[in-house]
Symmetry: C2
Subunit: 411 residues, 2 copies
């Protein structure tokens, strides 16, 4: 019996662990648990001045620091331990938006058990959401909501079952005869197909834009932006990778999009399956992929968006990617000559949209801004967008989507 | 320029981090990376004898151990460090199925960066999938696939936007006039609405059962099994919590299911909205909740399943939950007298299903098996299922669902 009661206690302790964390003492002052936390976890807590308090119980650790995305500030931030073995630090006011972060515990990067996880840096990573005053365009609101669906499809290119996420707009199920245009929307490197709906709140941005009549109802398809052709080795990507090998990797993903994903989506959903009703956009690496793929397939896409996508005009270069400085953008030769005839490009492409955050490294601003200016000067119609004060992070890309989506499918 | 090149290198290193992890050296012998890993991560790797090799790079750590779910064996397992600062251990052969695990790094439980994360223990947790020879009922196969959707709904009970996951069966979108029965399927404590599709592979179990004609096409709704009524404090659940307070917590969730979730589902999906076409089941705490809710609402449910759900016949008891031994099950008084008239119960309820794993603590087997035997002896029709050799873990519940779902909606 003693054993049974012990088992019962252990069981119940485990059963209700979540209830216990929900009952922890509230943190002091005008701060709130981040919405990115595990439900009930009191920290990270965000103060009214956007400073953030982090805690971790680690009585036996020698050092604990907080490190993370640019918008958190110039960390890492050393934490200090109290008598109960809880380490804590309050970081300086952060930039609004979603920031990846992690603890460095005796030299090892580990997640915060109080945070939900978000796929970034090629792994599950902690994240902290810092509210932006007055910005409600990405909040869940009492408007009709679309749905985010997990779609599996078999890829002939890679030979694997692939996962995509698909946003269907409000009313999709109620209007079984209505067909919709499609935006393919890609994450950045190290992220995956969950990024736009977990970190980016794309579904709420679309819900709100559609509810206010600012955007047309559309289907948004978010794929996992990696792929290796069957029976070929994966490209070993890194700073020293020759640009031509990057091209090999992107080319496999191009075939996934063109030959596997688009047919699977058109077969599964009530799309309008023509170029005038198909857009592609992506952030960072997803922006590179968008330019690479759409400029090869203008028969498939009429709307193109690159959100903070590095401008790499020539993937046939013998240079390695890490050694490419942002040089002048030659509109005649860049991207295999896609822009060499501006009037032909303008009559074919309904929207070319390039954006960057003003707090991104100069490399991005110079490359993206320079390309936009060169294209404009050559007569190519381009929308150039700057996100004020935000870095190479999700707040830049939420704003980008909020500007980009209303411009789609207007022709 | 030097700065720009440095920024470029840092950027590209981050951009392609996932590519690098995919290119790590293969592990020796007949082992394969677990399917629960981050794509490309070589460990945890599962050997043919079901032993598992774990690794973590932590040059400055003093101790690292692996700990986790029952099926891993009687850990924690101390790891040893090599000259490169990589800690590793190969654990004894594990029970097949999905096991939660974590590293204990200088005394702190942390996730494995090589594992995807799975919500358990009230937080995001690492997990390792150990194949079961010959068991393909939960594998993704080349059969028609349903979809898993993220549904948001506003709860009048709790005053919050709630998340549910909804499985719609293959063909749902193609047959806009077909209506479907509904199974509400709940996770265990410390888990959330993602458990059944992430850890449990419920969508593939249903896809496979439906493809082979063994189960009727159905909608499966998985809700987040927690809730606190508006303007009331959350119940502080723990081993010493009086059973009556557990009842308060379950009662709030009951109202969510009955007054918020079911109406939202019936309004959003093509359900057959009557009791003969509505089932509820759950695992562990979800089984407790299922019995609590369905036995109060036999006007709403005709099919009932409790998978490893602790039998707590009387939540009005003054005892705390942790002190309740598995006593004799009085069919006259248990569950507020729901079984006191066996023939009335049998004519009203199409299926009462109770299951448990043979490797679960005796507390569970005695309580669940004892209840099943007492109900049978009293003339209540009950299906009692034992999962051979599996513990209080997901393999038990996959098998449970695979046995339970084919029995639904046959009347």
């Amino acid at each position: 019996m003693k054993h049974l009661v012990f088992v019962a206690l252990v069981f119940v302790a485990r059963v209700f662990a979540i209830g216990q964390s929900a009952s922890a003492a509230p943190v002091p002052d005008q701060s709130s648990p981040a919405t990115s936390n595990v439900p009930g976890a009191p920290t990270p807590s965000v103060h009214t001045d956007r400073s953030i308090t982090f805690t971790l119980k680690a009585p036996d650790a020698r050092t604990v620091e907080v490190a993370g995305g640019d918008g958190l500030g110039s960390g890492p931030f050393p934490m200090t331990k109290n008598a109960e073995g809880v380490w804590s630090v309050t970081t300086p006011p952060a930039v609004p938006g979603f920031h990846y972060y992690w603890f460095v515990l005796d030299g090892v990067a580990v997640n915060d058990p109080s945070s939900e996880t978000y796929f970034g840096y090629g792994k599950e990573t902690s994240g902290v959401e810092v509210p932006e005053a007055g910005a409600d365009y990405y909040a869940i609101a009492d408007v009709p909501h679309g749905e985010v669906r997990e779609k599996r499809y078999l890829s002939k290119t890679t030979g694997e079952w692939r996962r995509a996420r698909v946003y269907t707009p409000p009313g999709y199920d109620k209007s079984p005869r209505t067909r919709y245009p499609v935006l393919i929307l890609q994450h950045g490197s190290g992220e995956d197909e969950t990024g736009w709906t977990r970190q980016g709140d794309a579904q709420f941005i679309l819900d709100n834009l559609i509810a206010s009549g600012k955007a047309r109802p559309m289907i948004v398809v978010m794929d996992r932006g990696y792929g290796t052709r069957m029976a070929t080795p994966p490209v070993k990507l890194g700073p020293g990778t020759p640009a031509v090998e990057v091209k090999t990797a992107f080319s496999a993903f191009e075939d996934v999009i063109v030959h596997d994903l688009i047919p699977a989506i058109d077969a599964s959903y009530r799309t309008i399956p023509d170029r005038e009703h198909r857009a592609m956009a992506g952030l960072s690496m997803g922006g590179m992929q968008t330019l690479f793929i759409t400029l090869h397939h203008m028969d498939l896409f009429a709307y193109i968006g690159s959100f903070s996508g590095p401008i790499v005009p020539n993937l046939d270069s013998k240079q390695s990617l890490g050694s490419v400085p942002p040089g002048p953008f030659d509109t005649k030769t860049a991207y295999e000559g896609a822009f060499k005839n501006p009037s032909a490009f303008n009559s074919r492409v309904n929207l070319l949209w390039l954006g960057v955050g003003t707090a991104e490294p100069e490399l991005f601003r110079a490359g993206i801004g320079g390309a936009a200016r060169a294209l404009e000067a050559a007569g190519v119609k381009v929308v150039y967008f700057e996100s004020n004060g935000t870095a190479h992070e999700w707040q830049t890309w939420r704003r980008a989507l909020n500007d980009f989506a209303p411009r789609l499918f207007r022709n």
